[in-house]
């Protein structure tokens, strides 16, 4: 979303415009949901956190500083909620994740086998991602999935840029290795 359009929507939503609030939610919902889903590996947790994050942000729009990006604010609140929730919930490392990812987003007309393969790959990736420590997972997701620059990630996670890069390099390498291991495990299970 363009900055100008974003500001206009925020102003209207802050003034009590329901349509502007709805448009804002629809614009930022997928990215913040994907972010929390990647961190938690749990769609139910991601839904709860995304909902609460939006409610908090929209109820306090008059405090929003237009010098910053709305997405940064939203992600910061969502992350805090996730970190708080993580202290109460154990992260999902087990096979429940596979079912949690579901298969409802298969493209119309997509062959069943192909859709299943995609789901399997997604599940493998998420399991591999959950092997990473939280800091590495967050940096990899923000850099490669959200396309955030290193400087913004450093600010968001409140750590030096050098540390962010270090987490990124280690996390990327570890993710690759975990994914290869996960896929070889899945394929050997399929043959037995």
């Amino acid at each position: 979303m363009e900055r100008q359009r974003e500001r206009e929507l925020i102003r209207r939503a802050a003034a009590g415009d329901r349509d502007a609030a709805a448009e804002t939610i629809r614009a930022f919902q997928p990215s913040v949901y994907a972010y929390i889903l990647r961190l938690s590996g749990r769609p139910d947790v991601a839904e709860d956190i995304v909902q609460e994050a939006f409610v908090r942000v929209l109820a306090n729009l008059d405090r929003f500083d237009e010098r910053y990006r709305f997405s940064t604010w939203l992600f910061t609140i969502a992350r805090r909620l996730y970190v708080n929730a993580m202290q109460k919930l154990r992260p999902a490392y087990d096979s429940d994740l596979v079912g949690a990812w579901g298969g409802s987003d298969a493209a119309p007309g997509e062959p069943v086998e192909r859709a299943e393969a995609r789901e399997q790959a997604r599940g493998s990736l998420q399991r591999a991602l959950m092997v990473l420590p939280l800091a590495q997972r967050e940096v990899v997701v923000l850099f490669h999935q959200m396309d955030w620059p290193i400087a913004l990630i450093a600010k968001h996670l409140e750590m030096p840029e050098g540390t962010v890069k270090s987490h990124l390099h280690r996390g990327r390498r570890r993710l690759r290795e975990a994914l290869v291991a996960e896929e070889s495990r899945t394929s050997s299970e399929a043959w037995t």
Binding site: D17, I25, Q29, L37, Q51, Q145, R176, L179
Partner: protein, 258 residues
């Protein structure tokens, strides 16, 4: 799983590639140099695959209505028609505040000592202030009257001890501290005397004017003069045989009797 590389320079170059720090030319050069390194090529391919899968997030549930309902419980949304009024109302309030501030600033500019805030003062201050005002008024008027060429000089003042019959008459004629005095014609001389009152009389209870018989034929009975004037009196320490302090202000002159 791919084998791990040992060359730190190559590792840094691959990190730079995935960190998006290499130009297109540098990328081509790096990938060209890796053609003979199958381990590095496999590592790059596996990392690219992981990144591609990372971007395949699948479907996102639409939480819009649930979020809006929750937000509406905390902070109500306003319909567009009402919002217009709210905006106008806010503008009107802002304009009102601005006008009030401007008006106050202008008011302060023309009368900087004026204050809208009432200041508390004890009653004793009010009494002292009234006394001070009266004394100041007396001095001012006295100054004006003395300066007037038409007025005659202040009359002679002397102590006067009334007779027993006069005192009895005074006791029967306690008057208020304000008299309305009228005068007929143009007086040439008015003699003012104070009376040493009995000590048991209330302080500042009485004043006796003694003058020419033509003007004041009777003690305690004022002659009828045509122009009324306000007479203010003030007594202190009316001790016997010592004249009380007295101030008399008529329209034409002020007389102070020590």
């Amino acid at each position: 799983m791919s084998e791990s590389r040992q060359d730190p320079n190559l590792e840094r170059a691959i990190d730079a590639l995935f960190d998006r720090e290499l130009s297109e030319a540098s990328q081509r050069e790096l990938l060209g140099s890796l053609r003979r390194d199958p381990v590095a090529c496999q590592e790059i391919a596996e990392t690219r695959r992981a990144m591609a899968l990372l971007n395949d997030t699948g479907a996102c549930p639409d939480l819009t209505e649930a979020i809006l309902a929750s937000v509406n419980n905390r902070r109500r949304f306003v319909p567009a028609s009402v919002r217009r009024f709210v905006t106008t109302g806010r503008a009107a309030i802002a304009a009102g505040i601005l006008a009030a501030v401007s008006g106050y600033a202008a008011f302060q500019r023309h009368g900087p000592e004026t204050s809208f805030t009432p200041t508390a003062a004890p009653v004793s201050d009010l009494v002292e202030s009234a006394h001070a005002d009266a004394a100041q008024g007396l001095r001012t008027v006295a100054g004006i009257l003395t300066a007037s060429a038409d007025c005659e000089q202040a009359p002679a003042v002397a102590s006067y001890v009334p007779s027993a019959s006069e005192l009895r008459a005074l006791e029967a004629r306690l008057v208020s501290s304000q008299w309305t005095v009228a005068r007929a014609g143009s007086p040439t001389r008015v003699e003012v005397r104070t009376v040493a009152l009995p000590a048991d009389l209330p302080e500042a209870s009485c004043l006796m004017l003694v003058g020419d018989a033509a003007w004041m034929p009777e003690v305690g009975v004022l002659p009828l003069w045509s122009d009324p004037a306000l007479v203010r009196l003030r007594f202190r320490s009316p001790a016997p045989a010592a004249p009380a302090e007295c101030s008399i202000l008529t329209r034409d002159r002020a007389v102070s009797v020590p």
